[in-house]
């Protein structure tokens, strides 16, 4: 059923003018960089799950030792090597404090006349594994975050200066990097730890010693890409200072890359700390990190698998979550994927 156009009153039509002032109107609501990234990361199930896992682990790292009725340091020799036991779950046949002793399954809590609960069991000195695991997580996270931040600051500053000022400065700085880049991280980290007093600071210094190089190379590349673009030239023409150009024009543009890189530095730092502690170069007792806990547990794996199990699970979850989140952020910040 077609309408006869002539029957429609002329008043219902309106002449359309080309309004040049409207030509550049933005119809889509303008999204900031962060809103845009958030919209995309929200769709990434793995990244969202990782955020929840990370928040949970970080909260537990601080709340865990407080919640547990036992603290991490107290050694109760009579309570040594107890398997995990949790209120409520014990009736289901799991976490009921039953362990093997001389090849037989016995309720070790009953045998040792322990009437309290150790959620993750105890270690060889009767210390509560639940508190120890979360305090270890705290230390591991602390090392990882501090190392990542130091890497970021040095890397961004070095790469930024080298890329922005270019010329002879860049030449010299890049030759230095080229030489340092050839030094295997593992070797330098082990050597430094041998010389320094073992402890959290030593590990952080050892990890950051070569850690910033990757960041500096990426930042330099990005700065080189942006500093010759028109908007920077325009800003310079208008008389903006170097400081203003860097902070207002270049930094916001490379922020995504910096964040992604930092997200991948954190799991690397966690791994290195655990690795060093595992080969005996890391923290020394009584300090405990996830790495030292795993090392302790490894020695007793045949008899007390629970001592190895919980720190390993937390460490693996942390690593998986940071890697997944890093992946998600990379997809979210990647301008190539913008629609």
């Amino acid at each position: 059923m077609s309408l006869d156009i002539k029957k429609i009153p002329a008043e219902s039509f309106e002449r359309v003018h080309i309004d040049s002032s409207q030509a550049e109107r933005i119809t889509k609501p303008s999204l900031s960089f962060w809103q845009d990234a958030w919209l995309r990361i929200r769709k990434n199930k793995g990244a969202i799950a990782s955020i929840f896992i990370l928040v949970f682990i970080i909260i537990m790292a601080f709340v865990g030792p407080m919640v547990s009725p036992h603290d991490a340091e107290t050694q109760t020799i009579t309570h040594a090597n107890l398997p995990p036991k949790v209120q409520g779950l014990e009736k289901l046949g799991i976490f009921d404090g039953v362990g093997t002793l001389a090849g037989k399954e016995v309720d070790l809590y009953e045998m040792k006349k322990v009437d309290t609960y150790y959620w993750f069991g105890t270690d060889g000195l009767g210390r509560d594994m639940f508190s120890r695991v979360w305090e270890g997580t705290q230390i591991s996270l602390l090392i990882a975050f501090v190392a990542a931040i130091i890497d970021m600051v040095i890397g961004v500053a070095y790469g930024g200066i080298s890329g922005y000022y270019g010329g002879r400065v860049d030449d010299i700085m890049q030759r230095v990097v080229e030489i340092l880049y050839g030094i295997p991280t593992l070797v330098i980290v082990i050597l430094m730890l041998l010389v320094m007093e073992p402890g959290v600071t030593a590990i952080i210094i050892a990890i950051t010693l070569t850690g910033w190089i990757g960041m500096s190379r990426i930042v330099r590349g990005q700065v080189l890409k942006f500093k010759n673009q028109e908007f920077v030239l325009a800003s310079r023409t208008l008389g903006a200072s170097n400081g203003r150009i860097i902070s207002k024009h270049i930094l916001p543009n490379i922020l995504g890359v910096i964040i992604i890189n930092t997200m991948f530095t954190i799991p690397t730092a966690i791994f290195f700390e655990a690795f060093l502690s595992f080969i005996g170069l890391g923290l020394q007792a009584p300090d405990a990190s996830l790495g030292t806990l795993i090392n302790d547990g490894y020695k007793l794996i045949r008899f007390q698998p629970h001592i190895l199990l919980y720190p390993s699970i937390v460490l693996s979850l942390l690593m998986i979550a940071f890697n997944l989140l890093g992946d998600g952020l990379r997809d979210a910040f990647d301008p190539k994927m913008k629609d």
Partner: protein, 310 residues
Amino acid sequence: MTKYIIRRIVYMFITLFLIASATFFLMKALPGSPISSASKLPPSQLAVVEAKYGLDQPVPVQYAKYMLNLAKGDLGNSFQFKNASVTDLIMNRLGPSVLIGSQGLILGVAIGILLGMIAALRQNTIWDYGSTLIAIIGISIPSFVFATLLQYWLGVKWGLLPVALWKDGWMSSILPSIALAMGPLATASRFIRTEMIEVISSDYITLAKSKGASGFEIAFKHAFRNALIPLITVLGPLAAGLLTGSLVIEQIFAIPGIGEQFVKAIVSNDFSIIMGTTIFYSVFLIVIIFVVDVLYGIVDPRIRLSGGSK
């Protein structure tokens, strides 16, 4: 290309020189001394021992001597193992390390390539997600955690394979190789997936398809070959990862390799073994990265033009 190679070789030597010097002075700065447990000796005896190892000379002289010997390929003698030469100590232990390292690398890269191809060809299906999951786990779970799990379940609980000690010949190398393979597996599979997806969407694949080539033929004959080339670039980081892994894996499985000896030397303050192994590792990694870069320039002409600016 020749200019690029020469430049890289020069840098290689500068890096090595720096590492060797740093190693030497750091070792000198160490609190312990390899003969500190012999301090019960009367001073006259102690002086004899020190003179024997050249420890009585001023540090610059020791340094010059050390660097000269190094240039000749002599890494000095061990304090611990009855004066055995460090070069010999390292060479004697090379076998097991090379065996598990190469087995781990080959196994990991082969399975990784397979997983990556499956993921790329069946993009956004359960196959893809499965292989991504394996890759994430492989990257995330530290090799020493994975190794202890393998040891506990396959070795202790089920008794399938030898748990530790290098006594059952090749059988003993299976578990450590699997533990080492996880890293290369994860890296290779993710890398191949990205590359394959990129290659598959290129024009010549569409052409092959329109000419009626079978899916299998396209995947293996056309796409795979080009996706494989960039894999060379990750060989450097992979080798570094294998080295790191071997330190703990050899410890866990009690394998008489270089890594195990290195960790023991760290504990017992055996300077010359630590220095020797450090330099050995550095040479190994630096040469691999160099070979990889040159190889890549030869295989992929697009890189050659830009002449080494990374």
